[in-house]
Symmetry: C2
């Protein structure tokens, strides 16, 4: 079973807990390989734990108007594996030594191995999606990998750039995060008996909670405490990444703003502390909360065309859960 | 048009030159993007030149028993793009500053960007293959990426290991090289009017010339001259990679052999020179030639069930061409 699920998550996942356990089993099965060099790598990569929120989305979306089929489980496994592959490449790009308290693949075996293992897992995830026999979800899956990679490229080239437009931020977090959330729920729906309107509704749901999820993440980087985050507060700014709160700060105080100083080297700690203080003590935090609420409301509104059932209730509770994380 | 094609290649490609030009056009079209950060990267990656032998294989295989369709061009473009993506990751893993006389992506923009650009191109190549609408070729394509990545992982973990079995060498070069050659010809056939026996024949053809191609490459690393290779002679051994000639040397002289010395650090230049001399002055070189000839003969024999036509003649000439490279 996915580790680290709290009581709330178990409630949300309850309509699909059995299927999620099968996804977990399939992930573990993938660690069986005839290639001895790969064995310890797969073992490490696939026992990553995590909340499994993306495969849960696929399973919940597919169980709304269900079809008797293994396909949602195949798809959900592919979605989670894709997520694990991107984490390995992200840690390589970001030079991150740890991930969820465990050593990263790149710190254990070197960046070379991390690049190749990520490639192997990307491709493995694609074969799982091919096993659904549904070309539409395969294509959407490939497009998602393009969006994930281009989102990271856009972020990389804009580090330490204090001038960033809001619409480019939204585009970037769509690519980095919401794209895979959208794909998770959309493909679950495509692989069920849902009609096109319902597929579209579940796609919109995934998009909106993905956007909310990332904005909350960006907010917690500024408001959270170090112990909870598992990384220092202000980590994004420290690495030159502007997110919603800091972009709003630049817009609100275009002239007297510590961010350009922070991004141009000296006295960083002081500028960082000033930036965090200014954000925390302004209307920016409630503005960001309002944006999260808006995404979550849109997510739940998009579910209205779907039948009332346990799975729909779970998706609504998930949106509420994300909304509450931001308070 | 693909750059650097010599007269022989033009003859081989003559039945499909028009289609290969369309592949080239599509590759250039892919450089058009709405993402400004990606533009210079795609521009650089897609103007790589090269002999385009893999897409030529797809086009020749598909024109044996042709169907009126754009699919072989889509597939050939995907095959070449996959090749370009792997080169970018390989250069990142190998820390290579140049590729075909041009700066590598990782040396120009850093390894971080090279990892992400490779991911983007892998995924883009998969969307092209999805556009064929044929799930069988999409799945084969994903498996090929798994084989390519695992081949590189196996090679990486066996560097500086002087004890390697021949069958593991053959498995490794299948994954690294012959897998994509096989996929190029096999998918071309699947996307034509070929029957299953003919598909299988063209798959075998691709496999065998892929294996021959890599053995020749490994031989040239020892027999070639620096100017022609564009890299120092003995480059594989210098980087701790055993290939067919050096594995045969270890088998022939298990006791008095300079390779364990070469792989365990000091006096490397002397051990390298001795290793190269021993290989050159033994029966190993003609033995390797015989293995190449054998693969090429098998490649050509597998074509016997196919109709006599220009494309079949081209494939036969290609096998002869690879055989001659090894003399």
């Amino acid at each position: 079973m996915a580790q680290g699920l709290d009581a709330r998550a178990v409630t949300i996942y309850s309509p699909i807990l059995d299927k999620l356990a099968l996804v977990e089993e399939r992930l573990q099965d993938l660690a069986q390989t005839s290639i001895p060099e790969l064995e310890p790598l797969l073992d490490h990569a696939l026992s990553h734990g995590g909340k499994r929120v993306r495969p849960a989305l696929t399973l919940l979306a597919s169980s709304m108007i269900p079809l008797e089929s293994e396909n949602p489980i195949r798809m959900a496994t592919g979605v989670e594996l894709l997520h694990l592959a991107t984490l390995i490449h992200d840690d390589t790009v970001d030079d991150a030594d740890t991930r969820r308290g465990r050593a990263s693949v790149s710190s254990l075996w070197g960046k070379e191995v991390a690049v190749l293992l990520g490639d192997y897992l990307f491709a493995t995830s694609a074969t799982l999606v091919c096993d659904t026999g549904n070309l539409r979800v395969v294509r959407r899956f490939a497009e998602t990998i393009m969006e994930l990679a281009s989102g990271e490229i856009i972020e990389y080239f804009n580090t330490f750039n204090p001038q960033q437009e809001l619409d480019r931020y939204y585009d970037r977090i769509y690519r980095k995060t919401a794209s895979l959330f959208r794909t998770a729920s959309e493909t679950g729906a495509v692989l069920s008996a849902a009609n096109e309107e319902q597929v579209c509704a579940l796609k919109d749901y995934g998009y909106n909670i993905g956007m909310a999820f990332q904005v909350v993440d960006d907010l917690l980087d500024i408001l959270g405490d170090e112990a909870e985050l598992g990384k220092p507060v202000g980590n994004d700014l420290r690495h030159g990444v502007l997110t919603l709160p800091s972009i709003l700060l630049m817009q609100k105080y275009p002239l007297e703003n510590p961010i350009p100083d922070l991004f141009s080297a000296p006295r960083q700690d002081e500028s960082l502390a000033r930036t965090l203080d200014m954000i925390r003590n302004s209307s920016i935090v409630p503005d960001c909360f309002a944006i999260v609420r808006d995404y979550c409301d849109r997510a739940n509104r998009s579910l209205q065309c779907l039948p009332s059932c346990d799975s729909r209730e779970s998706l609504e509770t998930l949106a509420d859960y994300i909304r509450e994380r931001s308070r």
